[in-house]
Amino acid sequence: MDVRIKPRPNKRIQSFALLFIICNVQIGIGVFGFQRYVAREAGHDAWISVLLAGLVCHFSGWMILRVLRRYESADLYGIHQDLFGRWIGGALSIVLILYYVIVTVTILRTYIEAVQSWIFPEFPTWLLAVVLLFLSWYAGISGLRVIAGVSFMGFLVIFAFSMLYYNPIQYGQWNRLLPIAEASPYQLFNGAVAMGFTLSGFEIVFFLYPYLKDKEKSQKYMQLSMLLTNALYLFIMIVTTIFFSQDQLLRSVWSSINMLKIVKYPFLERIEVLAMGVWMFAVVPGIIILTWVISRGMRRLFNFEHKKVLIIFSIGVFVVSLVFHNRQQIDMLNNLISKMSLIISFVYPIILNIAVAVVWSWRQRQANKGEGGSQHEQTSN
């Protein structure tokens, strides 16, 4: 496996597309009910936690691109091999692939659960799973450009629906935000940690980076995309806090959807049914991108064919998603994944930075020592 990959020009996408892709992976399904977890820790100051988590997110994004810039055109699978060698690096890559499989299952299962609790209680889980996986397969076989296109649509849907939250503001009580900063720093920190899984997903830039046409702009669009995501989460958190009382907020699983119930037009009401259905546009891109990342990994590690991996993976995810039956299990899945995502999205970039600094400076020293290091020099530069 080569550390650096050079995709053909017609397979590359513009950095501009990062704007949609990262937004989609980050927002996807988490936006339905993240408020409860944050409010449980930080109370009515939850919005400060969201803000803090957002800042950390920007920092992590910057760290990730710092690593990637050093390698010019490599993905995380390649970086793993370069830093930790074939076996340890490979093992880490496999752990990462497994993590993304579980994330995919979580997204899929959470959306299905939302559909079952809001539109069709009797809708068979397997059927909806097949529908979603079919869509992701259909887009996945056509390459990154189509994936970016689907994300663009998802992006539009997300921001069109966030406009609807203008209505709950009218019924909100702003004094619910007062007194500001009542929560202790520890509580705020816990709240920010609870945002972990909701905000994670931006680390897929680790895998998209070699496929970007204009890499120098990647930092700009990535930060912009995270800024949009954070602004959206902050906005929804504030709306939720002023709309619900604290007791109510802690008890509502799907706070974001609950708020849409009051939106009313002369020809249409109960927008949440519509939103739930159309949200498929926002959920599927997340699944597609993660699928693509996994399939890339299988190709890089084991040289499997993309189309075959897609089908095998779809069947695998389908089977796994059937295992989870009820709310408790899905909650458990979400809790498990949120701890893992904290490590992978926020802690791991820092570790990688340190590892890169150490390994590269060590190699530099080896190279300086004499001809023995020249081979290393070639592989690393």
């Binding site: 539109i119 869509l135 189509v146 970016a148 296109g149 009401e269 049914v273 259905g277």
Partner: protein, 500 residues
């Protein structure tokens, strides 16, 4: 006429015997002996009889029978395009392309004069793409007159017309046309490479050529525009697109086209900016209505009653109380009736067509509701959806749009809103996968190009006056102008393109 002279010293009977072997059973072949040493042959109907009698026959009869030779004839007859030809196989081919062959006794080579005049109709208004305002002229089936119309718009030497031949039997002539300064060379290369790959006996029309040029044979969407209107063609050329003319088809292919192009009419640009923008927006609303209106009705009435406000649901339920079918069946019945009406209206002669209006309006409209077949509101929705689909200026695209409504209605009946979103996503991904001459089909939307989108949608008054013109990146121009001059002469005369 030649049956009287059976002697072999007569050139006419010799020619007749030879040509009958090369073109057996060709009843419209005429071999006419002027006298014993000069004969003229041609295929009747393919040549201009006026030119034949005034410029050839009258001159030939004046010449002295004993002194005649081909050089003399060549100098006396008043036709520009003459060549010498001795090979009778070639002569037979040329005769079928409207040439006249003049043979002289005791000479190996005869003269081939091009006075082809294929039957064609006169240039008239374009009937399928009508406009209220703006030029009404449409192309006809003759390649040379179509190119002439084009040149009446663009007098620049940059206009390249490259002749190509398609098909082994029919030898369909096509011309690849583009502005060498504006065009992106990759589109031209793409078309050329595709044309080389085509293996066929011949193509009956440009609509078939479009199918051969596209990468995805199974899509229901037209991937390139077909138009009869010169102004639209000229606009496309000025935007740097490639245009393909075909002999025998009044439609020309414009490529690359994007999904949005099919909803734009040239007429929009003729109006003031505001009205043009309004009409384009109206068409997109029409598109949305024709795709989503009836599926949403089915989904809402089958599964999502709670989405309809109480005031509206009362009247909806009232009109549906007498209807014995579920919304899915009800809608499918009415939609298919609508399609039947439309199809019958197209197939019937114009005079009987009015009957369809009466049948549609009274029988379907009134009686269906009174009989408890459908609800009033559904009739309104179906009519609106049909109206919306007819606002699409392009006929092929209009048909595709009507077609995608059916899976959507069906899935809406099965899975409600989820079904609609599912079909919409499949179609969206499908559209994303398509390319037209190698350019993404959803072009200004994805990959997103703000400037092109504003020009396409006429979003700003400035966009109203600009064509999307991108200068070529490479120094191809000098090369192309040479090519251009060659094909210039080729296109001026309809049948000389074989020689180049």
């Amino acid at each position: 006429m030649t049956t009287a002279n059976m002697a072999f010293s007569d050139i006419a009977s010799y020619l007749k015997l030879e040509l009958n072997q090369l073109l057996p059973n060709c009843s419209d072949l005429v071999v006419h002996g002027i006298n014993s040493s000069v004969a003229v042959c041609y295929v009747s109907g393919l040549v201009d009889t006026k030119v034949l009698s005034s410029s050839i026959l009258s001159v030939l009869t004046m010449l002295d029978e004993d002194e005649v030779n081909t050089e003399l004839i060549r100098q006396t007859i008043t036709i520009c395009e003459i060549e010498r030809e001795g090979n009778l196989d070639q002569v037979a081919l040329k005769l079928l392309q409207g040439h006249v062959y003049i043979a002289v006794l005791d000479e190996y080579e005869g003269l081939l004069c091009n006075i082809a005049n294929f039957p064609t109709r006169a240039i008239s208004a374009s009937e399928n793409e009508t406009v209220i305002f703006g030029p009404v002229l449409g192309f006809n089936e003759s390649l040379s007159s179509n190119i002439a119309i084009l040149r009446s718009y663009i007098k620049d030497p940059d206009l390249v017309t490259e002749p190509h031949m398609l098909g082994t039997k029919m030898e369909t002539r096509i011309q690849l046309t583009y502005m060498s300064e504006y065009v992106d060379q990759q589109y031209v290369d793409y078309v050329k490479s595709k044309l080389k790959q085509i293996k066929t006996d011949g193509l009956l029309g440009n609509a078939l050529l479009v199918q051969k040029l596209q990468n995805h044979p199974y899509t229901i969407f037209p991937l390139m525009t077909l138009t009869e209107r010169p102004d639209r063609t000229v606009q496309a050329l000025m935007e740097g697109k490639v245009v393909i003319f075909m002999e025998g088809d009044s439609h020309v292919i414009i490529g690359p086209s994007s999904f949005i192009d099919f909803f734009l009419s040239v007429e929009d640009r003729y109006m003031s900016w505001g009205t043009g923008l309004f009409i384009r927006m109206l068409r997109f609303i029409g598109l949305m209505m024709s795709v989503f209106l009836t599926p949403v009705y089915v989904a809402a009435l089958t599964f999502h009653y709670q989405m309809i406000p109480p005031a509206l649901i009362v009247s909806l339920i009232e009109t549906r109380t007498k209807v014995p079918f579920p919304p899915l069946i009800e809608t499918l019945l009415l939609e298919i009736t609508m399609e039947l009406l439309r199809e019958a209206g197209v197939r019937l002669p114009t005079k009987v067509c009015q009957t369809i209006g009466i049948v549609g309006g009274i029988v379907i409209g009134q009686a269906a509701v009174q009989a408890g077949f459908t609800s009033n509101i559904l009739i309104m929705l179906v009519a609106l959806a049909a109206l919306g689909s007819f606002t699409t200026p392009n006929y092929l695209m209009g048909t595709s749009i009507r077609l995608i409504r059916y899976p959507m209605i069906f899935m809406a009946g099965l899975w409600g809103i989820l079904g609609i979103v599912f079909v919409a996503m499949v179609i969206f991904i499908h559209l994303l996968r398509q390319t037209s001459l190698g350019r993404p089909y959803l072009f200004p939307i994805f990959p997103f190009r703000g400037k092109d989108l504003t020009v396409d949608m006429l979003l700003t008054p400035r966009a109203h006056y600009s064509y999307r013109v991108t200068p070529t990146k490479s120094g191809l121009k000098s090369n192309e102008t040479e090519n251009n001059q060659q094909s210039d002469t080729a296109s001026s005369n309809s049948s000389s393109s074989n020689e180049t």
